[in-house]
Each structure stands twice: as structure tokens, then as C-alpha cells.
């Protein structure tokens, strides 16, 4: 296991989410936005959700780093973590709305 060798196992969730959310998931979001079929003219156009999704996801992730970093240093910042959770939650569903009409047959 890698967790015990990290300086502060309390930062393990932060490390995992930086990689899985900040790197992998965001990479998928970007590539899907780029290469999935365009929505049909009569379908819901969620293109305006692209930038808000990006900012919400990354702001949420940064707040998470601040909140969990503070907790690891012995200072609880629960309100920051609640804000981080809300922003990431909205970002996730916003991406679902954005891409859903573009997942379609011919």
C-alpha cells in the first residue's frame, strides 16, 4: 500500500482525487466535449454548460485541497469542504446534462 508512506495519510483522499478527478475525469470531460457527435438541432443544447462545468469542478477541487489540507494540519474547515462538495456535485451533473444529448445513434 502506498498510503502509509505518504507524509500524512490524512491527505490520501486529496491525492487520489487530484489524480482521478483532476486528471482522469477532467481529461475524459475534455475529450468527450471535443469528439462526441454534435447535438441534433432540435435537441437541448448544453454547450453553455461547458465553461461553468470546468470552473465548478476545478474550484471545488481546489477548495477540497484547502479543506483537507487544513484538517490534516489540525484545523477543521468544514464549511469549505461543504462548499467543495456542492461545487463538484453541480459540476458532475452539469457535465451529464451537457453530454447526454450528444450520446446518440445516427
Amino acid at each position: 500500500m502506498i498510503a502509509p508512506v505518504l507524509p500524512g495519510a490524512q491527505l490520501w483522499p486529496t491525492y487520489v482525487h487530484l489524480l482521478v478527478l483532476g486528471w482522469l475525469t477532467q481529461l475524459i470531460f475534455g475529450v468527450a466535449y471535443w469528439m462526441f457527435p454534435r447535438p441534433l438541432p432540435q435537441a437541448f443544447h448544453g454547450e453553455r454548460l461547458g465553461w461553468p462545468t470546468y470552473w465548478l469542478l476545478n474550484t471545488g477541487l481546489l477548495l477540497r485541497i484547502v479543506g483537507e489540507g487544513s484538517r490534516a494540519a489540525g484545523r477543521e474547515m468544514n464549511a469549505v469542504l461543504v462548499a467543495a462538495a456542492m461545487l463538484q456535485l453541480i459540476a458532475g451533473w452539469s457535465f451529464v446534462l451537457l453530454i447526454w444529448p450528444r450520446v446518440r445513434g445516427r
Binding site: 482521478v20 482522469l24 475525469t25 475524459i28 457527435p37 477540497r64 477543521e76 468544514n78 464549511a79 469542504l81 461543504v82 467543495a84 462538495a85 456542492m86 463538484q88 456535485l89 459540476a91 458532475g92 451533473w93 457535465f95 451529464v96 453530454i99 447526454w100 450520446v103 446518440r104 445513434g105 445516427r106
Partner: protein
């Protein structure tokens, strides 16, 4: 986009939303004074996002985009459908079983379903993972 890919990708998107929701609930739990048992959602959160979202998305995109076979279109479609069903069975069994502290055999059965899904998808995709040569007769498969 073929039907199987549409099913894969839309299911993956639903898992993404659900996985994010569970993650947000766990992250906000101390601030919202939710019980510590909220953290028991973690196995489901992980399964939904790693297996249900990422792996399923990879299945759907690979099925859609890998080179087609001459005369055989997208190859063995049954294997791909089997992979999709087994993956979902495995993800839900392991995820929900983890939350409910299910017994070892239940989790093992879920993991076995995930393993079989991987084998089935590899069996489907193996012949399609090859050097690209354009089809001379495009009518042998659909886009």
C-alpha cells in the same frame, strides 16, 4: 454511434452523476452533521466511478471507435453485450454489497462478474485492435 455504445455511455453518465452525489454527501458529512456511518457509502462511490463510469465509458467508446473488421462489421456483438451486462452486475453487486457489509462470497461473485466482463470485452475487441487499413467497401459496417 452504435446502440451498444449509446447504452454504455448513457449508463456511464448516470453512474457518474450518482457517484459524484455520493462523494459530495461524504465530503460534506462533517459540516452538515451527518452521521459517521455516511462514510460507509465509500465502496459504492468507488465502484460507481471506477467501474460504472470509467470502465464502462471505455467500453462504449472502444466499441464505437475501434477499426471494424472486413465483412464482420464490429465483430462479435454478443460478447460486447455480455461484457456490458456483466460489468453492471459486478459493479452493483460489489458496490451495494460493500455498503451492506455483504458476505465474502457475494463480493467475490461481483468481482467474478467484473472479471468476466473484462474477458468478454477483451475477446470482442482483440480482433479489432490492429493496424488501420481503410475498408475498400464501406458498406460492410455502419458508422
Amino acid at each position: 454511434m452504435p446502440r451498444l455504445s449509446v447504452w454504455c455511455l448513457r449508463t456511464a453518465l448516470l453512474y457518474l452523476g450518482l457517484g459524484f452525489t455520493l462523494g459530495a454527501v461524504m465530503l460534506a458529512a462533517p459540516g452538515l452533521h451527518l452521521p459517521a456511518t455516511t462514510l460507509r457509502l465509500r465502496p459504492l462511490h468507488i465502484e460507481l466511478l471506477l467501474g460504472g463510469w470509467m470502465v464502462q465509458l471505455a467500453f462504449g467508446v472502444a466499441y464505437w471507435i475501434l477499426p471494424r473488421q472486413r465483412g464482420a462489421g464490429r465483430g462479435n456483438e454478443r460478447l460486447a453485450w455480455a461484457a456490458l451486462l456483466l460489468l453492471n452486475l459486478g459493479v452493483l453487486t460489489v458496490g451495494v454489497g460493500g455498503v451492506m457489509d455483504a458476505s465474502g462470497p457475494v463480493i467475490a461473485a461481483g468481482r467474478a462478474a467484473e472479471l468476466l466482463a473484462a474477458v468478454a470485452f477483451a475477446g470482442h475487441a482483440w480482433p479489432r485492435a490492429r493496424l488501420y487499413t481503410p475498408l475498400k467497401n464501406p458498406s460492410s459496417g455502419s458508422v
